[in-house]
Subunit: 155 residues, 2 copies
DNA sequence: GATAATGTCGATAATGTTTATCGTGATTAT
DNA sequence: ATAATCACGATAAACATTATCGACATTATC
């Protein structure tokens, strides 16, 4: 499960990406809240996170608002999930950006769970890094690129 | 992140699978705790969950203990994760075994987040269902079967 | 049948995470 | 000035995670 916060973030980013595609203005929090369905006061914090992450920009004061400052196809799902929900790895000892040894593991190299999930996580990362905000916008079939996986299910 | 509880469960199952492969006896909680590194009193509950899930069997009383009652290659990672951590879907509205409409979504069919993550989750499920306890045991290279994914990273 | 070994299982609790809401301050256009 | 708007720390309710404990049930053995 991704958190609801991350879901709101993706909806907000999609809203901003749509607006950008339409050559629109910066959008107020209120407007983003309405279009994305996120609670306004909660969304404030989410937008701040996205801003700190360099994905969106803001203007304060009258006529202020938020706008996307990256090309949608350069913003990966992985980037957003890491920014909002933190490390994605199934085990902390497998995290690329936030590695930490697991407290319960005396010998990391001997850990079978780590070995198996490590291989799995490699594939996982390829997927979430190849999905981008652009995939959330139009009527794309973004995951047909993973169709090659299907044969693996047969075994 | 999978929970520590799920990690303990996988280590315990691997321990039991190893014992089974060696034609060993049922193992006491204490012994499983030592071999898997899980706290004994916490492990109790985990083993109960695994028993209720039909993966292991137990004998009470003197000379009691736990043993794996399934062929390791018939126990998927997905099964264990669902049993211990609950639904795996990135959104509850995408869960196969525990579907529920998302509270924040007025129109599920129009939800772009759902559409994109849905495609992603399909691939994810194929992976976790094709990994089995057998992959955790020997010196296997379980994830080479997902090597076909690699080209997708190039774009 | 008494005893010791062992699984069963509900209660409790410390800690952290998630999902918010609120008040106040800072900035900007008019 | 004033009104509109973002910035951001404080707070809190609800829930999840990670345990530990005590008491009970079952079984083998003496």
């Amino acid at each position: 499960m991704i958190t609801l916060k991350a879901k709101y973030a993706l909806k907000a980013l999609t809203t901003l990406a749509d607006e950008r595609a339409a050559d629109g203005e910066a959008l107020r929090i209120e407007t983003i809240a309405q279009r994305s369905g996120a609670p306004k006061r909660f969304l404030e914090h989410i937008l701040l996170d996205l801003k700190r992450g360099g994905l969106i920009g803001s203007r304060r004061g009258r006529n202020g608002g938020y706008e996307l400052i990256k090309e949608p196809r350069t913003v990966s799902l992985a980037q957003v999930l890491r920014l909002i929900d933190g490390p994605m790895a199934p085990l902390q000892c497998l995290s690329r950006k936030a590695y930490q040894p697991c407290d319960d593991c005396p010998d990391e190299a001997a850990c079978r769970v780590r070995a198996v999930l490590g291989g799995f996580y490699d594939a996982y990362v390829l997927m979430v890094e190849s999905l981008t905000l652009a995939d959330f916008m139009a009527d794309s079939r973004p995951l047909e690129r993973f169709a090659s996986l299907a044969p693996a299910a047969g075994e």
